[in-house]
Amino acid sequence: MPLSITTQEILETIRMVQMENLDIRTITMGISLRDCCRTDAKATAQAIYNKVTRTAKNLVPVGEEIERRYGIPIINKRISVTPIALVAESMGLEGYTIVARALDEAAKEVGVNFIGGYSALVHKGMTPGDKALIDSLPEALSTTDRVCASVNVATTKAGINMDAVALMGRVVKAAAEASADRDGLACAKLVVFCNVPEDNPFMAGAFHGIGEPECVINVGVSGPGVVLNAVRKDPHCDFGTLASAIKHTAFKITRMGELVGRAASESLGVPFGIVDLSLAPTPAIGDSVADILEAMGLERCGTHGTTAALAMLNDAVKKGGAMASSYVGGLSGAFIPVSEDAGMIAAVEVGALTLDKLEAMTCVCSVGLDMIAVPGDTPAETLSAIIADEAAIGMINRKTTAVRVIPVPGKKVGDHVEFGGLLGHAPVMPVHNFSSSAFISRGGRIPAPLQALNN
């Protein structure tokens, strides 16, 4: 039977993997824990441990088998679970920590590097269980290695819960203090969201939403290096041509996600949920979203034009990606985690990229202020105000926004923080020194905007 694929196409695929860092960023198994609620914390923790280890037993071996079969690296195998505040509502503060440790142990047992879903949805208000989960975050995140947490404080439909925003500023600060010996690493595992998606495969914000099935496989693709190469090929083409080149490339990248998702779903006997189209960078050279923006003609990421470049890039990625997969979901936006992107780090270091520009980028398609190190003496109210600004952008634009900032204890602007591995390293960035505390102390809820009234 003749070969239906040309030599050029085969070599193109191989080049993408070998030279341009094409990989599948994550296969994330979503597991419902709604049947794990027991009358006391220990029994609940045991039920959670049993269910996670039983359900995800084959996740890592199957992922590795797929890597070998297709010759495409799958960087992470991960698990997301039902927001723990829904499962452990009645456990009290101490009970939550026991549950967090059970999740950590289960993740280690099955060999996944992160387990997400230590989460609460409090956009309109908090139950006692939500409050206990949030209060437990500094200890839970500083005494576990693999547990990731998220708190949704706002939606377009509900408005912004400013009491929760105020509380999260203090919690982020406390989580940094609790892990001061590791430069506030606990904060790298904590995301504060507006309009959080229920099927996001990417950490640290993944959880298994309440509308999800018993178990599901979601896939996150990567590939900034491949897009970068496509952009560099024709440095002087106009934007229509450039968008078309990016679309073609995004299509191919996403097809790999679709293939791996279908294969994992079949091997594990678990339904295939979604492919998340986000271009996820890594600290590796050439695997940077900032490099793509610069290849589009900006001297440095962060200068004037960056927002337009990012908007165009991500729209083209979505258009190409949406055609390549039957089910697109999750965040499917641009990831610009500063510490995880070599080009972003370089742009911050030369003074081209600031917190304010990063915030502007979240207005178009970035999903948030991600992995940003700020001075350790940043007041909790300032952190809350940063969260409020992001939540407002998400609420008004009907999109997901998130904040993952690390107020690094003892560090000041210009210092450097090393988180290691995929989390990378980051220069400490300045925040505005003018106070927001009177604004944050008002409390209450910012009402849902007119955008919510779409029925």
């Binding site: 003749p2 070969l3 694929i5 030599t7 196409e9 070599l11 191989i14 079969r69 790999m256 091997s267």
Partner: protein
Amino acid sequence: MSEKKENRVIVTVLGQDRVGIIASVATIIADAGANILDISQTIMQGEIFSMIMVIDMAVATISYDQLRATLEQKGNELGVQIMAQHEDVFKFMHRI
């Protein structure tokens, strides 16, 4: 997933040209009981050896993982890169 259908694997060899690359790779594939369906070989830019083989493993006597490992080892001996990947990866990327 692919075991039910034809089990076609693409073997790609890239590297510095030298005597005996095709013979070595073909021998490993024959020893594995796999059938070579198609082969295409060129020397790119006058020196880089590139060969693409389509093989059918439906009646192979060793597993895909074993074949892959044997080919990789031979690649190291010959100083070339030998990859084996399931055909679906290329079909999926370039065809709908």
